[in-house]
Symmetry: C2
Subunit: 342 residues, 2 copies
């Protein structure tokens, strides 16, 4: 058994551990990985572990990935980490459960413009076990690229099942629908819905608006679409226009609670009563929304607790190298928190 001598300025390797423990390098690997089907004396195991500890040995993940042809990484490129409190909770639980399954979730905050096959190639360099990304950043070529690089599961996150790959469905449409239903059931007959004019939020806004429109159409109610940046002047202009129009909307779905407070102030400043003249519904049930006066009704997504189920599903996709489109629905149950504003 001859082992190469270690270079002093390099991180310790399993060979260093082996030398210190007086065993072969293979034994080190067996012990530290609890290799099945290999019987090693407890005494040897103890020696190996002690040596690894003493050297502060950390196995080289890249070497392992190179050898095994796969990493335990689950890549999740996000457009913005500040997507709100709900997202934080969801990611935390997903990370935890994937960790139990032996995977490591890492977030890449990149440009949302980083999409398609070029982005896929960059993600593929680390040979992740799975990639979890917004559906609209994937193309057919991107999915193919990732599969070619050995990524077992390419999971789209989107409002509807993708034709390309398994999809994790977050149903923003249902949020808009719930808001519209709530307002209609309370006797409102002319709806409006705000769509944020911001790049990241815009896509979600389109979906939520779509839900409002679908529900309203089904009930034969008109819907006004209001494209709005988060900015007082714009909101004031809309409110002023409504104040002067006899056929103004009598109910507004404001996209989320932040836009709801924006609209609330604008409506009030324009002399309109909320909810007397105009009812108002936000979404996401942000903690501070209940503190406004009048309190803002909010559509709340339920089921953030089931990130564990998502993790298990992803784990299954990785194991089975599932490629045909499959669907997992998450965060699609929705409920309204009625408050004074509607």
């Amino acid at each position: 058994m001859k082992l190469p001598s270690s270079r002093p300025d390099r991180p310790p390797t399993s060979v260093d551990v082996a030398r210190l423990a007086g065993v072969s390098q293979a034994t080190v690997s067996y012990v530290l990985n609890d290799a099945p089907g290999v019987r090693i004396s407890d005494e040897t195991r103890a020696k190996v572990r002690a040596a690894a500890d003493e050297l502060g040995y950390a196995p080289h993940a890249s070497a392992r990935a190179l050898k095994t042809g796969r990493s335990d990484l689950v890549l999740c490129p996000v457009p913005d980490v500040a997507l709100g409190p709900l997202f934080g909770i969801w990611i935390r639980e997903l990370t935890a459960r994937l960790g139990e399954l032996g995977f490591r979730l890492v977030l890449l905050q990149g440009d949302a413009a980083e999409r398609g096959v070029a982005a896929a190639r960059a993600w593929a360099e680390w040979r992740p076990a799975a990639v979890l990304v917004q559906a609209d950043r994937l193309t057919r070529a991107a999915v193919r690229q990732l599969h070619a690089a050995g990524t077992a599961a390419v999971v789209a996150i989107g409002p509807e099942p993708s034709a390309l790959t398994p999809t994790l469905v977050f149903d923003d449409v249902a949020i808009g629908r719930a808001a519209a239903r709530h307002l209609a059931e309370r006797g409102r007959v002319r709806l409006a819905a705000v769509v944020p004019s911001e790049p990241v939020l815009g896509d979600f806004g389109e979906r939520r608006f779509g839900g409002v429109a679908a529900e309203a159409t089904a009930r034969g109610l008109p819907v006004e679409r209001v494209d709005l940046a988060f900015d007082e002047a714009g909101a004031a202009a809309v409110a002023a226009r409504w104040a002067a129009a006899p056929d103004r909307p009598d109910a507004v779905f404001a996209y989320n609670d932040e836009y709801a407070v924006l609209m609330l102030r604008a409506l009030q400043d324009a002399g309109l009563d909320v909810p007397g003249d105009v009812a108002l519904v936000g979404a996401d049930d942000l903690p501070w929304a209940a503190l406004l006066r009048p309190r803002i009704s909010s559509v709340r997504i339920i089921g953030a607790g089931s990130a564990g189920g998502t993790a298990d599903w992803i784990g299954g996709l990785i194991r089975d190298r599932e490629r045909s489109p499959a669907v997992h629905r998450e965060l699609t149950r929705v409920e309204i928190v009625p408050r004074e504003s509607s």
Copy 2:
């Protein structure tokens, strides 16, 4: 020149590219890495690039890391990705600038309890070029572990320079100080400061409270500390107590804008006038805070735009393998946005 034949079920390698281009594998490496000091004909370069494109070749990052002994990863373990809008912006800019320098920032959302040398060993497995982590998750042994694994820069993020390693200083103390100064200069004489009773926010709260206390002490003013969860009942209890006490605080620093609206409602419901009886200052200048009535004054951190400077600093640390404690101050300039509430 003999090249092994490729296995059909494996991702394409540089050997596959070489075979397709009709050159040697080394040439592929030279071309794709723009190797300096190597002259290769434009014709060959074109052939190689075309072949790589055709195969969808993505270099194997693990193999490169193994060979070079270092990855281009900058690891940033965070306790919670939903740290607020400011954090999102900062991370985005940091990512962009580090990308220009050739590094890839990845966020690991883990347990905040994952700390010390055990956590360091897990981070070290990927042999990151740098690790960027909250100061209180590092110990001397953890820093040593990372250095031993070849991590060039271990950067602590904290309220004050660490004795262990270079530190990125985010000065929450300055926020509290600015709030106290503002209130004192407006003639307020009995201060109170809210400290959130939540795990992640709590640490920041302590610092901000410390700033209030320091400034108040310097001016000979008393400070009441209010530990508070984000919950209406608790806030109401505090407000009720104050309403009944003649020597109640005449000014409150509410930790941030969310807690400010919580206190605002509680104070109003208890019959106290804001800012007549009690002035109120929040922090972080969240966009919707200006929409409340009365509008909430806020302490704003300036300099989120300088994440680029931080990236350059980290790049320098990596290049120089700096190990003696050095400091970079970021987000320490602070200004007050005065509104009706104070």
